[in-house]
């Protein structure tokens, strides 16, 4: 009651209010980020070490999530897998959104033939189903980790471009842009200082959604055996490795899938529960 009257501006920097679901989702995301960073320090067993004489062992006090198809500790492997799933996806989404947003803003401000060509070409790329695109490119360039990052970022650049362009076109018609043009500002200045700050919120929300798509596609590719290759293993690859344990209901199949689900659902819920202020300057 009192604090709403004492301060004129209800929110300061980072002072956004999240609801409960948003907080929980944010907590899970931060948890996985922490795991990805500190994985080598916190894993209870080495990921290559065979610690169980039985394969697809059950959950126990020593092996929290049971053992995998060779008798390795699946809990440690999931913690280490977080590095690959999160790392590759984060790198790919950063590249995709950076290039997509940069191109989108440029196209919106420059207009004319540049806009037409870029939009036509990237829309065409957008109409290749993402999983199929992934398969074709992996067939051509193989699935080393840099190649995967490159492939994933190329696949998701057109979507980021389309989203950013739609937002930037709206902002571009505002009076302050006209003023900036009359003032004689050049294109890079208008893009970086006039357009970008005004579309940043929705662009970041879009980045989160695209991150989910990338995690899902990477897991899918790894699940097909075309993503991250042994000896490394991300969560999708862990599911693939242990799929033979499915008839026994082995925890080694279930927990990597749950890890993926917990991450992607959390990101989606966080974005759904973002304060309107950040989210709702949408393309419409």
């Amino acid at each position: 009651m009192t604090d709403s009257t004492s301060t004129g501006r209800p929110s300061m920097r980072l002072g956004y209010r999240f609801n409960l679901v948003g907080m929980i989702a944010l907590g899970i995301i931060l948890f996985w980020a922490g795991v990805a960073i500190f994985a080598p320090q916190i894993i209870p067993h080495s990921i290559g070490e065979i610690v169980d004489s039985d394969y697809f062992g059950p959950m126990s006090r020593d092996l929290w999530f049971g053992s995998d198809y060779l008798g390795r500790d699946i809990f440690s492997r999931i913690l280490m897998g977080a590095r690959y799933t999160l790392g590759i996806s984060l790198a790919a989404v950063t590249i995709a959104c950076f290039s997509g947003v940069a191109l989108g803003m440029t196209a919106a401000v420059a207009g004319g033939w540049l806009d037409g060509m870029l939009s036509r070409f990237l829309d065409a790329l957008n109409s290749i189903p993402s999983k199929l695109f992934g398969l074709v490119v992996v067939a051509a360039v193989g699935s080393s980790i840099p190649a995967l990052i490159g492939t994933l970022s190329v696949i998701y650049t057109p979507g980021a471009y389309r989203f950013a362009r739609a937002l930037a076109v709206n902002v571009n018609t505002m009076d302050f842009i006209v003023v900036a043009r009359i003032r004689g500002e050049r294109l890079p200045y208008i893009i970086a200082s006039e357009i970008l700050p005004n579309i940043l919120g929705p662009v970041l929300a879009d980045l989160g959604l695209r991150f989910v798509f990338i995690v899902l596609l990477l897991s899918g590719l790894s699940f097909l055996g075309l993503g991250v290759q042994p000896p490394y293993a991300d969560w999708g690859a862990l599911v693939r490795e242990n799929i033979a344990g499915l008839p026994f209901g082995a925890p080694a199949v279930i927990f990597p899938s749950l890890a993926i689900a917990s991450l992607t659902i959390s990101v989606n819920l966080l974005i759904d529960n973002l304060p309107r202020r950040i989210r709702d300057r949408s393309a419409e």
Partner: protein, 316 residues
Amino acid sequence: MKKQVSLLVMKRLLIALITLVIVSFAVFSATALLPGDTATILLGQSATPEAVEGLRQAMHLNDPAIIRFLRWIAGLFQGDFGKSYANNVPVASLISGRFVNTMKLAGLTASIAVPFALTLGITSAMWRGTMYDRIVTIATIGIISVPEFMTATLAVLLFAVYLKWLPALSLTNEIKSFHDLLRIYAMPVMTLTFGVSAQMIRMTRAAVVETLNTPYVEMALLKGASPPRLVLRHALPNALGPIVNAVALSLSYLLGGVIIVETIFNYPGVAKLMVDAVSTRDLPLIQTCAMIFCLGYLALITAADIVAVLSNPRLR
């Protein structure tokens, strides 16, 4: 005024055609221009340079890329898809049987998913804000955020491992009765239906909610129309375009889902063929499968666009 619509439709079709050319070029260049010399791959590491050169000549690999691209496109138009590298069989004969299988799977899924999703989507929009609506919304977000292979593995776990109702693998040549057919198709279709429906429910709900928020629906409410009449007579006819659009767009999601589902259930369709072709780097097979999928996808999204144009009375 009619002329304007047909002009718009023609324009959409033309855009689809241009897109198809760009897509086919992308598919061709991704598979053919990037590293990995086909002749060396085919003959193996121990081949002599002369043998490799001979094969390159025979396969026209020394021609400029643009010529090879045009030759490939011309082949596609004449129904000549080339020969599979892996077993030297024409691609067309490899694909034809499997294409029918995939279409069966997709058709069955669509015939279940569309009525199911429309019912849930429309009812949750009608009762928006209620417990029912929130459960549907949370469930659809959950399903969309989860990879298809997880829905599939959970389905196997539940129905084949714990309940023992269904077999874990599908092998279509073992079908002897209608009962077998049901048992084999049940799980792949169920997994696909989940994913497709989740998308469709979300989009349908959004389309109907948008119509329900319009002034003329409020007017109908104020004059005392009953809720079913409100939705069926006033809202739905106007939401029809966006709904059909949503259906077509969600069905395109089938194409991605089918890749995972055919692999996990070992279903002999085009997608499984393509995944196997990627592991063996069988380029002609990959190219043809990719073109089939892109064509299907493009057809669906173009149909969605055209429906959106046709259903807008302001354009008619």
